[in-house]
């Protein structure tokens, strides 16, 4: 089941990111705060932490595919999201054994992951000249609000973790029996 549901849910998140600015509060924008919805990445990190085993890399595969989709559909520079999402998901995948998993540890991973990814994306865009704000302005007007907003999103979708663990076990049993 997970084979169908996971890509579908990721696709849904990808599409909702595109209309997110319609229902995110408008007032935040007038105060120069910019929120980038990295919801796809948040869910990819959940997959990396709860669904993948140490020797499976489904989350990285999904990160590459859906990162590429974001690049094509929402930006006109290819490869940036693809590379940064895949790299970040891979790093978190490697880190997940360090701490015992609970909501706050996952929140910590999400914060680390999103900061890394967003920072990487910003750096690349700065180099190719798609944007030109200073580092300080970036940190205060973009990184901080983005972290808060995506952290809130994590609380929203965190209950899915039971389902992910269940799917993960089912897949494991199937792999063993065949």
């Amino acid at each position: 089941m997970a084979r169908i549901y996971l890509p579908l849910f990721l696709l849904l998140l990808l599409v909702i990111e595109g209309v997110a600015l319609d229902f995110l509060p408008q007032r935040i924008f007038s105060e120069q705060w910019i929120i980038i919805p990295h919801w796809l990445l948040v869910f990819l990190l959940m997959i990396a932490v709860f669904y993948d085993f140490e020797n499976t890399y489904f989350s990285v595969l999904y990160a590459i595919i859906f990162g590429m989709l974001i690049d094509i559909v929402y930006t006109n520079v290819l490869g940036v999201y693809m590379f940064s999402y895949a790299l970040v998901v891979y790093i978190i995948h490697g880190m997940k054994k360090l701490l015992h998993l609970n909501l706050f540890v996952v929140l910590l991973y999400t914060v680390i992951g999103i900061s890394l990814a967003d920072f990487f994306i910003f750096t690349v865009y700065l180099f190719i000249g798609a944007d030109s704000i200073s580092w300080e302005a970036y940190a205060s007007t973009r990184l901080l609000p983005t972290l808060i907003a995506n952290g809130l999103f994590l609380f929203l979708i965190y209950p899915i973790n039971r389902k992910l663990i269940q799917w993960s076990i089912e897949r494991d049993e199937k792999a063993k029996s065949s």
Binding site: V19, A20, I72, Y74, V77, L87, I128, A130
Partner: protein, 294 residues
């Protein structure tokens, strides 16, 4: 273990090389999206179209409730204006008729003001806010071409950046730079002649478009209207762009630079019109004239 580490590093480096290659590929001046990209745009666009309906319904419902509070006041003002408009309407009809008659006597059937509207809905906005882009649900199959102007009822909002078969991407005015300038006229109220200039970009701090004026002697006051002049050959004449906010001397004091506030709301729009300029492009014009001479 060290073998695996080396392999891991190797993969990351290869990934990095691919990243640089892809960025280089996409930063070239591309006229056309590749078939693969067009396919993905359309497929995702289809899903976006379906999702957008309930989202827009909910958001517009909330906006409607907020607007209802002001309905009474607005109604009073509108009623007062309505009587004025009746007079203006009569005048406009007279002028239009006269204009048509004059044009037929001149044997001039098409003008750079004419355009064919293509109605479209906004289905998504780039969450990555460096890219001032929105996606609309009309594409090549509906007659959309790159570089067409996109307007709302309030004025111009941008131009078509790329299009696939059933969807297209619009570059908003606040994402414009020197490579896509707009030739504009400024409607001076106390002068017969219009003033000309170029929109050369967008100033993030001022939140206004940068307008380089062609003449520096004339005084331009705040609040003057800025229209597209149709001289660039891409956009039709007479699209409203904005109003002058401030005029300052340019970098070297030789030119004047004005800040123009866009008249359309670039952050909140659902329905847009893609403007298909009817008058032939300059190069086509040249061909037909050459043909006639023969």
């Amino acid at each position: 273990m060290s073998f695996f580490r080396r392999k891991r590093l190797f993969i990351i480096l290869v990934g990095f090389i691919i990243l640089v290659g892809l960025i280089g590929f996409s930063l070239r001046d591309r006229d056309e999206l590749s078939t693969f990209e067009q396919f993905l745009h359309d497929t995702v666009g289809w899903v976006q179209n379906t999702i957008q309906v309930p989202v827009q319904f909910t958001t517009s419902l909330i906006a409607n409730i907020e607007e209802m509070r002001n309905v009474y006041d607005e109604n009073q003002i509108l009623k007062a204006r309505l009587s004025q408009y009746k007079n203006v309407l009569y005048e406009v009809q007279e002028l239009r008729q006269e204009n048509e008659e004059l044009q037929t006597t001149l044997n001039k059937t098409e003008s750079i003001t004419d355009f064919e509207p293509i109605q479209a809905s906004v289905i998504a906005r780039s969450p990555e806010q460096w890219f001032k882009m929105v996606k609309i649900n009309k594409g090549k199959q509906h007659g959309v071409e790159p570089n067409m102007a996109v307007i709302t009822g309030d004025g111009m909002i941008g131009k078509i950046q790329s299009r696939s078969q059933f969807t297209s991407t619009v570059l908003l005015l606040n994402g414009f730079d020197r490579s896509n300038r707009i030739s504009v006229n400024i409607d001076l109220t106390d002068d017969e002649e219009d003033m000309t200039g170029f929109i050369v970009g967008y100033d993030e701090d001022e939140e206004a478009l940068l307008l380089e004026l062609n003449q520096s002697q004339t005084d331009v006051s705040e609040g003057e209207l800025v229209f597209s002049s149709g001289m660039g050959g891409v956009f039709p004449k007479g699209l409203k762009i904005g109003t002058i906010k401030e005029v300052t001397p340019g970098k070297y004091g030789l030119t004047q630079v004005a800040y123009v506030e866009p008249s359309a709301d670039l952050y909140n729009m659902n329905h847009v019109i893609v403007v298909d300029r009817s008058a032939a492009m300059p190069e086509d014009n040249g061909n037909t004239q050459a043909g006639e001479e023969e």
